[in-house]
């Protein structure tokens, strides 16, 4: 079946031109904007990273919706031991590169000491910024990936950072 967006003989730019010429803008009720922004602070907060989350963690559509819903409920998170402020574990899909997964909020400015990865790790940043001593810096939507045997230390930027972490065993290196 033809997709609706294909069922027009006109280009998107031409349709936009037609709309702008023929449609008088109408102010929507303020409740629409308020409701929209409330959803952005709730279950849709991490929606812009949905494709990356599905990709890294091998999540189904339903799995992603479930994760985003759980992430929006503060009672689903567990308080952590500094520098972890809180975390929320979830199960990655069978094709994910490592066996464990979680959302983790790390304290601003903290440093995770040098460690070596016994299994692959992917750190997908959702909020804030993290960097490592290999010169990699990642902001929202960006990833830091570590192969088996790789070693690094991680530093959190000036704000708390929330990351989606796909991980396995690590061991700390000497201080």
């Amino acid at each position: 079946m033809t997709r609706p967006e294909d069922e027009t003989p006109m280009s998107p730019e031409a349709l936009a031109e037609l709309a702008q010429a023929l449609v008088e803008p109408v102010r929507a009720p303020p409740s629409v904007r308020a409701s929209l922004l409330a959803r952005l602070k709730g279950e849709s907060r991490y929606a812009p990273f949905g494709c990356s989350l599905k990709d890294v963690f091998d999540l189904s559509d339903a799995g992603l919706v479930d994760l985003l819903a759980r992430a929006s409920q503060s009672e689903r998170w567990t308080a952590g031991i500094p520098p972890v402020r809180r975390y929320l574990d979830f199960r990655p899909g069978p094709a994910a590169l490592a066996p464990r997964a979680g959302l983790v909020t790390l304290a601003a400015g903290c440093r995770i000491p040098a460690h070596r990865h016994d299994e692959p790790e992917v750190m997908l940043v959702l909020e804030g910024q993290v960097s490592d001593d290999l010169g990699r810096v990642a902001g929202p939507g960006e990833r830091i990936a570590s192969q088996v045997g790789a070693a690094h230390a991680v530093t959190v930027g000036p704000r708390d950072a929330t990351v989606a972490l796909l991980h396995g065993r690590i061991h700390l290196l000497g201080t």
Partner: protein, 185 residues
């Protein structure tokens, strides 16, 4: 005047692209700003397509939630932000009409592309805009129903409660006015 308007459009387009790029990084302030820039046009469009305020409000929210979710897929090389949003509004309106059981034609509408709107030069775009601004509202309604919803003259006639011939003549008038607008440049 043409150069100034073209510059304004280029700036608006660049601003939209920047906002969408910020949305892809999860900045909800950017979505609020994009909403403030375009919600009026999209809500007006959805009201005309859906003819129901509650449906239009829900569809408007869906347009921006979808844009929030898919912002990383927006490619400014492939088109403008406003066109991207207008297509989302159109697609959402079609989905709602389909769910509501409003019949749609299997075939394409009783009109071909509007070549006047596909022209690229700034002078031509301004001439077409001037012609569109002169269109009577009943003609504009027929153009929107034809090109946004893919409706045939018969379907539009049923929707508006007017004879099919009236719809055909309004469509013909719209196309003629657009053609004259171009010829008079």
């Amino acid at each position: 005047v043409t150069a100034a308007r073209t510059e304004d459009e280029a700036k608006d387009g660049a601003d939209d692209a920047r906002l969408l790029s910020r949305m892809a990084r999860g900045e909800n302030e950017a979505l609020a700003e994009l909403y403030d820039r375009h919600a009026g046009l999209l809500y007006g469009l959805l009201l005309k397509l859906l003819r129901d305020a509650k449906d239009a409000e829900d569809a408007l929210q869906d347009v921006f939630l979808g844009a929030w979710q898919d912002a990383a897929r927006f490619d400014p090389e492939r088109g403008s932000g406003v066109a991207w949003l207008v297509m989302r509004a159109r697609s959402g309106a079609l989905d709602r009409l389909r769910r509501a059981g409003v019949r749609r034609a299997e075939a394409l509408p009783d009109a071909d592309a509007l070549p006047a709107l596909e022209r690229q030069s700034p002078e031509e775009r301004l001439a077409v805009r001037a012609a569109l601004a002169e269109l009577p509202e009943d003609v504009g309604t027929v153009l929107l129903q034809t090109y946004f919803l893919g409706r045939t003259a018969r379907e539009i006639a049923a929707e508006l409660g007017v004879p099919e011939g009236t719809v055909r003549s309004r469509l013909a008038r719209g196309l003629a006015i657009l053609a004259v607008g171009l010829d008079e440049r």
